[in-house]
């Protein structure tokens, strides 16, 4: 029986190392999207639980503070072992629980359900569109790294200022900037998984989850302010 490889031309031959790396990249990509789907589902569950319990709005701040501390100090270490999966479910569950209290506030508005549905649909379109674009594009979007981290620092400084200033115009500008930055992060993170630069699917999931969460929250804020309510 002829060796199947002999049917491949010289150019079509896949070097073993490259084939292994492609398989590894596909595995990371598959695991990332599976874990992302699971964490998004878990967040939706905790958000519904929070809405059913009619949690007050300050629960959102408590959840975000807790999730940020876990994300900065616990997850990077835990992500190297299986315990990282538990930590990421804890973080996303907390963020979902906090989101529930915000959603309860929006549900009380006259056109609140329509704003929530529009923000949800918009987030889904942005995520699916950008992920599909990054996965099918021949470009490597890793060059966005420096620009995105610089932009994030500026946005965080503006967010800190607006915690105390409470200016709607600044909140709107920060939300718009966050949507653009997080869209850039979806391109950047997806591109890094695709190129094999990101090999830890827990950290990859965390990055994409945060981008989706922030886009949803920012869209809610923009649509809430611009929707005449």
């Amino acid at each position: 029986m002829a060796n199947p490889k002999s049917f491949l031309s010289k150019q079509q031959e896949i070097p073993a190392a490259r084939a292994g790396s492609v398989l590894e990249t596909n595995k990371v990509l598959k695991n990332t999207y599976l874990l992302l789907a699971a964490t998004l589902g878990f967040s939706a569950f905790t958000a519904m639980l929070s809405m059913a319990l009619a949690m007050p709005s300050w629960v959102y701040l408590v959840s975000v503070i807790g999730a940020m501390l876990l994300g900065m100090f616990v997850l990077p270490r835990a992500a190297q072992s299986a315990s990282g999966v538990g930590v990421i479910f804890l973080i996303t569950g907390m963020l979902g629980f906090g989101l529930g209290s915000i959603l309860s506030m929006y549900m009380a508005l006259p056109n609140g359900p329509s704003i929530i549905a529009t923000a949800f649909g918009g987030t889904a379109v942005i995520f699916l569109g950008l992920s599909g674009y990054a996965l099918t594009s021949k470009r490597d979007f890793s060059f966005l790294g420096g620009f995105l981290f610089a932009g994030m620092m500026v946005a965080v400084v503006a967010m800190i200022a607006n915690i105390f200033l409470n200016m709607p115009a600044l909140a709107l500008a920060v939300s718009a900037a966050i949507i653009l930055l997080m869209s850039g992060f979806i391109l950047f993170d997806t591109s890094r998984i695709k190129s094999g630069a990101e090999t830890n699917y827990i950290m990859a999931t965390y990055g994409i989850y945060l981008a989706i969460f922030n886009i949803f929250i920012s869209l809610l804020q923009i649509l809430g302010i611009m929707g005449d309510d």
Partner: protein, 61 residues
């Protein structure tokens, strides 16, 4: 309670700046540089996002 939470949130965000700074420096110094056409390929989908957000705003008004 709310003021305490605001101060705590600001504290955590300042802490986040200390995490972002080394990441920014590392990407700025050692990250890959954009090649010809890279920025155009990135700005195109981001402009589409801006367009979508404008459409969504018009939908809820």
């Amino acid at each position: 309670m709310e003021l305490f939470l605001k101060i705590a949130a600001a504290g955590v965000m300042i802490m986040m700046l200390f995490f972002l700074w080394p990441a920014y420096k590392a990407w700025q110094e050692n990250g890959p540089k954009a090649e010809k056409g890279d920025w155009q390929a990135a700005i195109l989908p981001l402009a589409a996002v801006v367009g979508l957000v404008i459409v969504l705003i018009m939908l809820v008004r």
